[in-house]
């Protein structure tokens, strides 16, 4: 009994600090023993994943409120706490993070040849930062993790990336920082309002939720401005049209592992930030701006898909497909009903897996052919049959074929959207169709048709690559067939999320 309480009380910190400890361990090891370093890092990410499984197993689905809470005073003068805690939403996102990390490392096993130690250290620090972002309930601690994550990502893209990597990484950092720093000002204003209304300093989310932020009804009211400051930081990360322009460059220039983690996890942080912080703190501003945000998301869905259709670089195509898919997720969240929000969360997980797998496939392709231009390749199904099969299954999950994880999410989002704005659901469905168009088109050009191989034919999937793709596919199919396994964990949290808005919107209606 006591042992379990100890675990409950420290597991989140353990998850955050274990990768940091791993970094220190790697620093001690000699830099030339690259295989040793890679295996050490891999083992550590696997341990982190297994530990997060403990989190999953011990998570109480029926408990309302935050679990595995850790609360320590950090800077008493300003009321900043070291405050961790998760609900169903954070739980699944942490799992996504720890799950994708080993795959990212295995996927880049052979493609990172210089400064291997530095690369692995950056990856581990990134993992620590990401888990930190998903598990903290104190706004300043959140901000620290949010910004601190930029540093390893900056190095990953800038040191091991493609030819335009310096431009891409600087764009990524500066773009993100503009949003985040304005959010910092908004956090400070919120904390000051809390002090003025309740008499003491606090930066923890649960305290700040009780601040009555003035709402004047115009676009310049205090609540709207604060919401916009928060939303800017998060929507840049989502990315929401038109704040998405950093994404294609960052994705294309990043190394495979960087792209995988960027797509699978970092983009989800924007949506998580909206759900956890921006939306609950400023519900009236949210209601005021929902039409605009919905509109931009819809534009993002269609625009992302259309631009993806004309790409000649596969990586850029997948990048724009992310814009489209995550526009979907935003739509689901903005619908503010159970179906939409659950669908949005599920689609986040599915997108993480499928887009992560897509980038791994692109990486495998690039390792063999050294080009990502679609027109330079063709007929690869003859040369690399297993790769073709894997690619196809992942593609189906990405499009949202029933039976795969993508379908559940998309269906629930569209159903939730239909409840509120039927017209938008119709437009959204067109996004699904467009998604199928550009993916199948690209697939056909790459895999079928005349074989345009280079001087040497390449080998099909190696054991290492099979180790990545098989589990990913299995999970994608499992998620498509038995969604209840995951949804059961988040039901209470989604209900809580939705209930807040309905309670505010329709005060007379009771729970659900």
């Amino acid at each position: 009994m006591d042992f379990l309480t100890i675990i409950n009380g420290h597991i989140l910190s353990g998850l955050i600090f274990f990768p940091i400890f791993g970094t220190l361990l790697l620093l001690i090891l000699p830099p030339n023993k690259e295989t040793l370093l890679k295996w050490a890092a891999l083992v550590m990410t696997i341990i982190t994943f297994l530990t997060s499984l403990i989190l999953f197993v011990r998570f109480e689905s029926s408990f309302e409120g935050m679990q595995f809470v850790e609360k320590y005073s950090w800077v008493p003068d300003f009321g900043i706490l070291y405050y961790l805690g998760i609900d169903g939403i954070s739980l699944l996102l942490i799992l996504l993070t720890t799950f994708m990390m080993p795959f990212a490392l295995i996927g880049s096993w052979n493609s990172i040849t210089k400064h291997v130690k530095g690369f692995l250290c950056c990856q581990l620090m990134l993992e620590a930062g990401m888990i930190g972002v998903f598990s903290t309930l104190d706004l300043i601690l959140f901000y620290v993790f949010w910004e601190a994550m930029l540093v390893p990502m900056y190095f990953i893209i800038g040191m091991w990336g493609g030819p335009r990597r310096i431009y891409a990484t600087l764009k990524f950092v500066l773009y993100t920082m503009v949003g985040s720093l304005l959010m910092l000002v908004a956090i400070l204003v919120l904390v000051m309002m809390h002090k003025a209304q309740l008499g003491f300093y606090s930066t923890s989310l649960l305290d700040l939720l009780s601040v009555k932020v003035p709402f004047g009804g115009t676009y310049f009211s205090a609540q709207t401005l604060l919401f916009l400051a928060f939303a800017l930081a998060f929507l840049i990360k989502v990315p929401l049209f038109p704040l998405h322009t950093w994404l294609p460059d960052a994705h294309v220039e990043a190394p495979t592992a960087g792209s995988v983690i960027l797509a699978a996890v970092l983009l989800k942080m924007g949506i998580y930030g909206m759900m956890r912080f921006a939306m609950p703190l400023f519900p009236q501003a949210l209601e005021q701006l929902t039409p605009i945000l919905l509109g931009l998301s819809m534009i993002g869905i269609v625009y992302g898909a259309l631009v993806a259709m004309v790409q000649i670089d596969i990586k850029k195509l997948v990048a724009y497909s992310s814009v489209s898919h995550l526009g979907f997720v935003m739509v689901g969240i903005l619908a503010l009903n159970t179906l939409g929000a659950t669908g949005g969360l599920y689609q986040m997980l599915s997108h993480g897996l499928s887009t992560g797998a897509l980038f791994l496939i692109v990486g495998s392709l690039y390792e063999r052919k050294h080009t990502r231009i679609i027109n330079d390749l063709g007929g690869l199904a003859k040369e690399l049959p297993w790769l073709a099969v894997v690619f196809f299954i992942v593609l189906l999950a990405s499009i949202g074929l029933p039976g795969t994880s993508g379908f559940i999410g998309e269906f629930m989002i569209l159903a939730g959207l239909f409840e509120l704005y039927p017209i938008l659901a119709v437009i959204g469905t067109s996004g699904v169709v467009l998604g199928a168009v550009y993916m199948l088109n690209a697939y056909q050009k790459l895999m079928f048709g005349k074989l345009k191989t280079g001087p040497h034919p390449s080998k099909d999937l190696s054991l290492r690559e099979k180790t990545i793709f098989v589990p990913l596919i299995i999970i994608m199919l499992f998620m498509g067939i038995k969604p209840g396994f995951f949804i059961s964990k988040v039901e209470k949290s989604i209900d809580h999320f939705v209930f807040k808005f309905h309670n505010y919107k329709y005060p007379k209606v009771g729970a659900k």
Partner: protein, 494 residues
């Protein structure tokens, strides 16, 4: 009128109370006398003697921390925790400078015993500045510090850049001192006293605030603006910083700035808090313009010393935002943030300049940003220290630089000046671009590097280790430093 000399009794305890000020001065004087007898190349003893003297002085400051505040020397020297805090900071700054200087002097062949004496003299002046209870003492401290700084800037007198920098610094500095003195004289003419507390009493008792008063106040602020290198009084700084010996650049960027800000702080909160609605807008504007001009100018710099000079101008702008909040009732939080930021700023500045010293060869040959290409591969520890320092200057967590900005800006927001904080925050984003440029060179352009070797220095290594560790520790465990900062604010507590 003039202090009543006949009533001045000599109280021996004053020696022990002022020991932390007298010890650096006496140590310096001793060095000056003894060094005549020491051969040219063996000036290491002067460094050791200085460090010994500074350690004693630091110990002396800690002795008075728990004693009640006192005004000594007829009210012109205030012994309170504010003074002690800043004195400890200045002693620390001097210590870091000496650590950076020992090896630098040997490499550059600058064997002047006066060097250490001058830094100690400047520190003495800084302490007088922070403790000044009346305008005369303020001027005394300022001049003591400045003259030492002028000489130190140009101490490498055989070379062009140092002489140019020193000349610009001296001419503009003397002019600014003149303006400050004129302002002091006018203020005396309007209020009848030099004493800061008595000036405040003059204002609250309804003394006439005529043109003479306002002109005096304005000129005093202008004089301070020069010393702090605020825009538009900053034009001397890039040349002076670039030309000065690099340890002295660090010394000026931290010590001189902190001392001037401490004196401005006392002036603004003791003498003229009741007319804050007049000087707050001026400082608001000054702060906003300073950070913006500093950051924009830094964007195009290719010399790392000039880049750091403009960055230090921008940081003066951030620091001045705290002064805007001093006019409101939220001054305690603003002061805490200010003091914390000064500590963080000291650590990151010395870390950055320490690396600059090692990378630049003799004669400041390698001080271009392009000279840092490939450092990440060849000298990873050095590159790491530089990266940490630059990230801290940019304000990226979890460094002390971020927490400094956080505490400072939260106090300013609380005081109601959210607009200024938005400007500051956008400036921070701008600064990330030029702070990251050396980092890009160090790590991301490794293929273009030529092989370079640097000589190693134990003393600089010690300084870099302490400052880098400090940047993380002071950031992540900031509450202990914040507590010290809060306790230092006795001059504001009732």
């Amino acid at each position: 009128m003039f202090p009543d000399v006949s009533a001045f009794q000599f109280d021996p305890s004053i020696i022990s109370k002022l020991s932390f000020v007298l010890i650096p001065f006496i140590t310096g004087a001793a060095i000056l006398l003894i060094e005549v007898f020491i051969p040219r190349e063996e000036k290491l003893f002067a460094a050791l003697l200085s460090i010994w003297g500074l350690a004693l002085a630091f110990f002396a400051t800690t002795q008075w921390w728990n004693e009640p505040s006192e005004a000594l020397l007829n009210g012109s020297f205030i012994l309170d925790r504010f003074t002690l805090f800043f004195s400890a900071l200045f002693i620390l700054i001097n210590g870091f400078t000496i650590l950076l200087s020992i090896w630098y002097i040997k490499r550059e062949g600058m064997h002047f015993g006066e060097y250490y004496f001058l830094t100690l003299l400047a520190t003495t002046g800084m302490i007088f500045l922070a403790a000044a209870g009346d305008l005369l003492m303020l001027f005394l401290g300022l001049e003591l510090m400045s003259i030492a700084a002028y000489v130190l800037t140009g101490i490498n007198r055989d070379r062009l850049k140092p002489s140019e920098g020193a000349m610009k610094y001296f001419l503009l500095g003397a002019f600014a001192s003149g303006i400050l003195l004129y302002g002091i004289a006018l203020l005396y003419g309007a209020t009848g006293t030099f004493n800061l507390i008595k000036i405040q009493q003059f204002i609250t008792k309804g003394g006439e605030l005529n043109l003479i008063f306002w002109t005096g106040l304005g000129l005093i602020l202008a004089g301070f603006g020069f010393k702090v290198a605020a825009v538009p009084f900053h034009l001397w700084a890039p040349d002076a910083y670039e030309g000065a010996p690099t340890p002295i650049t660090a010394f000026m960027a931290t010590g001189v700035k902190a001392a001037a800000l401490a004196a401005l702080f006392r002036f603004v909160t003791t003498a003229v808090p009741d007319v804050s609605n007049h000087w707050v807008p001026v400082l608001w504007l000054g702060s906003a313009i300073t950070m913006t001009v500093g950051n924009i100018a830094a964007l195009v710099q290719k010399n790392i010393k000039r880049l750091l000079a403009y960055s230090s101008i921008a940081h003066a702008g951030y620091l001045l935002t705290a002064f805007v909040a001093l006019g409101t009732e939220h001054r305690l939080a603003a002061s805490e943030g200010l003091l914390y930021y000064l500590i963080a700023y000291t650590l990151m500045t010395f870390a950055a300049f320490g690396v600059v010293i090692i990378v630049a060869k003799q004669g400041d040959e390698r001080t271009n940003v392009e000279d840092y290409i490939g450092l990440g591969r060849q000298h990873p520890l050095l590159a790491f220290v530089m990266t940490v320092a630059l990230l801290s200057l940019a304000g990226i967590p979890p460094t002390a630089g971020f927490f400094g900005k956080l505490y400072l800006f939260s106090a300013v927001v609380e005081a109601g000046y959210t607009g200024l904080v938005v400007i500051a925050v956008l400036n921070s984003v701008l600064s990330v671009y030029y702070y990251l440029r050396p980092v890009v060179n160090m790590y991301m352009r490794i293929e273009e590097a030529q092989v370079v070797t640097f000589e190693k220095s134990l003393t600089i290594g010690i300084a870099l280790t302490v400052t880098t560790y400090g940047i993380f520790h002071v950031g992540i465990f900031s509450s202990s430093v914040l507590n010290i900062a809060k306790n230092a604010m006795t001059l504001l507590a009732p």
